[in-house]
Symmetry: C2
């Protein structure tokens, strides 16, 4: 059993957790998807499903953060970066028939009151996401405390919109969240602008 | 087997779904919590767990909406109502050791790609929540399309903050979401005010 097998197990687990959650994902399903022998799970993950869950949460969290960093790095400015993240999330959701949203949110809600190691893994990932966005907003010139609030507000919007978008099979909630997050960052960079909401901003722009 | 038994089954199911999700809730656990005989589930819900899930989602969704309506009705104005909803959600979360958040979000994420009847039930509840808040914002004087956007943004913030607050065991995300939602509604009622973010608003207020 090779490292490639271990990676395939982690890849399959990540995909299954994202779509079906922790309780809804069985070890048999994981090895079937990974095309790996059943014994390989306990070979690589002696702690069984919980250890596999913790490692997958950390790995998926890192990969998702890298993806978001790349989108931000490719954008001309931080406000566009925020918009692009939400637009990308909406496009992915549509392409995957509303299946692929946040890699760890379903698990986070399931395990919060059930497994302390798994809850802690989700908390560490979320905190690193908050800090990553907050320091990016900070580098754009926003004061630390406000940068953290903006990061939390943006991520709240993203996670909440994933819940609604998947249930409603509509990207409307993601578009609303993206417009709001971009407007909030724009307003923080220019506090005198009448930012308000996306709609009133559009109105303000088209006024003579 | 009486109507009281049926109600106890629905109550237990609601509580278990909220905390452990759909897959993590077993029929044996439900009847044990409800202090009901096992056969009573199929007596009252011939469609078994899925039917029980659909009815519980609708029932919990209605009850949660009524709770929110009561908070809004008790508030002197719609902006205070928004703040009070988030403050109440944060207080409940703390009191229940970060267990009792949205009654149907965990289920919504679990079932979105798995069960069409359950997904549809969560979609119907979410759409009714959006319309309820949107019409309240509309009655406060906000135009329909913007009222819908504000309702979606507020609910995005609430659901996302529940994910983060439960995982992080902190009410910070809920407080950030509540301040943002209240500021957005305030700004929509008075588009000329420099609403921006809660922090810049505080700064603006304290300026000489």
């Amino acid at each position: 059993m090779t490292v490639a097998t271990r990676d395939r197990i982690l890849d399959s687990t990540a995909e299954l957790l994202r779509r079906y959650g922790y309780t809804g994902t069985g070890l048999k399903q994981i090895v079937a998807e990974a095309n790996a022998p059943f014994g390989s799970i306990y070979h690589f993950f002696p702690g069984g499903k919980e250890q596999l869950g913790v490692e997958t949460i950390h790995r998926s969290g890192r990969m998702y953060q890298e993806l978001v960093e790349e989108v931000f790095d490719a954008a001309p400015d931080v406000v566009t970066g925020v918009s692009d993240c939400f637009a990308g999330a909406a496009a992915t959701l549509e392409v995957t028939d509303y299946a692929d949203a946040c890699p760890i949110a379903t698990v986070a809600l399931e395990v919060a009151s059930v497994s302390e190691p798994l809850r802690q893994a989700t908390a560490e990932v979320f905190e690193s996401w908050i800090q990553s966005s907050a320091s990016r907003f900070g580098r754009a010139g926003i004061a630390p405390a406000q940068a953290r609030e903006l990061a939390i507000a943006m991520l709240n919007g993203l996670e909440g919109a994933f819940v609604f978008s998947r249930a409603l099979r509509s990207t409307e909630p993601l578009h609303v969240a993206g417009a709001q997050a971009a407007a909030a960052v724009r307003a923080a960079l220019d506090p005198q602008a009448p930012a308000a909401t996306p709609r009133s901003r559009r109105r303000a722009r088209s006024a003579p």
